[in-house]
Symmetry: C2
Subunit: 299 residues, 2 copies
Amino acid sequence: MTTLVVHGGAGRWAVSEEKRQAVKRALEDAVREGLAAMLRGGAVDGVVAAVEYMEASGLFNAGYGSVYALDGRVYMDAGIMDGKTGRAGAVAAVEGVKSAVRLARAVMELTDHVILAGEGATLLAKRLGLTAPFYKFYSEEKNRQFSQVLEEARQGKWHFKRVLDFADTVGAVALDKDGNLAAATSTGGVWLKLPGRVGDSPLPGAGFWAENGVGAFSATGVGEVIILSTLSLRARDLLEQTGDIRAAVEKAVEYVTRRFGPDTAGLIGVDARGRFAFSYNTRAMARGWGKPGEVRAEL
Amino acid sequence: MTTLVVHGGAGRWAVSEEKRQAVKRALEDAVREGLAAMLRGGAVDGVVAAVEYMEASGLFNAGYGSVYALDGRVYMDAGIMDGKTGRAGAVAAVEGVKSAVRLARAVMELTDHVILAGEGATLLAKRLGLTAPFYKFYSEEKNRQFSQVLEEARQGKWHFKRVLDFADTVGAVALDKDGNLAAATSTGGVWLKLPGRVGDSPLPGAGFWAENGVGAFSATGVGEVIILSTLSLRARDLLEQTGDIRAAVEKAVEYVTRRFGPDTAGLIGVDARGRFAFSYNTRAMARGWGKPGEVRAEL
């Protein structure tokens, strides 16, 4: 029943066919990386490997592909939860780290804490050798997009919800052969965010949730909306009530749509038997899934 | 039906009689400040005024009374939620601010975001004239306690749960004459925390929750435990199911006790009719409550 599901963000995904194919390949490769890691280890290893692959690809708004804050710098959020232990780890508003999700895992496994933010998180990254040089987070394409959204903002045309015109957030959920569930999420946040802004991705219950015997979830969309909806925990509660992963994920996203309107959220989930589902109220959501020997992606 | 309830933290509260009386007076004064602010404004003004009073008093682990992190510095968390609008604001791991709860309110009212952490939050404080000189956060008494817990940690005798041997976190919930609910929480976190550690206090659903027509809640205790229990949202859901604020608050804390053991959490709540309740699984919880003309505190 080993299953791994990933998302590369809900949004408009108005990209070239070339980019679309590259994204689909990256999603499939992320699933393969995750499944391979699960064969060697467990669900936590699986979601970390899949998310780390997407962070490193530069194709998504996470890791090296992260968007720029208002000050032109790159601050990342990531979170992870181990359904077996019920523990979680997360980092928020962290700069210059190789893999925010690996740092989140270190918070979970090496500290008494759940969330580390800002300089403190960077300090831990330094001690663990998880830092990366700043240049890796900058590209000509992102520089151009930054200039464009900054100009739109100056003209008063920028709207916060337009964050989803661009790609947003990556995540993974997994069930391993021992029945352990895990979830992880990683993001660069939103274009032009205030430095230090924390979205849903590092918050258990909002951006992610994993609980053995129930399910695992990873969210994407407008962070503020997902925080105030506690989207992942909402889906978890619906799953416990209905036993239906599809209904749980769909109803959770419907709640967000009713309260905050469309173009705000997406969610992936897997239950304790390996059944999985996606839902989103945006035009599209990049996603992939697989079991050993069978991998697919859609966008 | 104007009602305001405050807490000054769950914990052991093994303090001198003199300190106990000072704390009770401060709780009563905080309630009076909050009620006065509610007469001029609304529930949000009430919880901010009450929490700000406790932050400024230096008697609690919040504001000027905040404990020190492992690096000997003071990092604060605070959050606020407006039950009328459903919006929330919070700051995490912020240094040198006059009132973390006022800064949290600024995040709610002046930005598109819910949470700002670290340097970014400090930057906003600077722009709003909300900074305070560092010396205000240091006292001989706290210096002595810091040396003591640091020494215990070096000898391997420090246990994370011992955070509640000391005072912990302040919070307020209120219902105003127009039926609006609000909740706020503010804290210095835990002794010897890693720099940048984020507790439950700035997380909607964990450290606080307010929702018109339902209720408002503020939590205290071991932050990591409260995050993983989403304590305030749990009480909110129980209140919606049972209509009984006392049962909701008690059952929510019982859940925490079952899952994480005693000496971990406390909670205050008020419902949409102004009925309120407290619950805690620690030895004591400092608390106060009042309506216009009637103010009380217990410890």
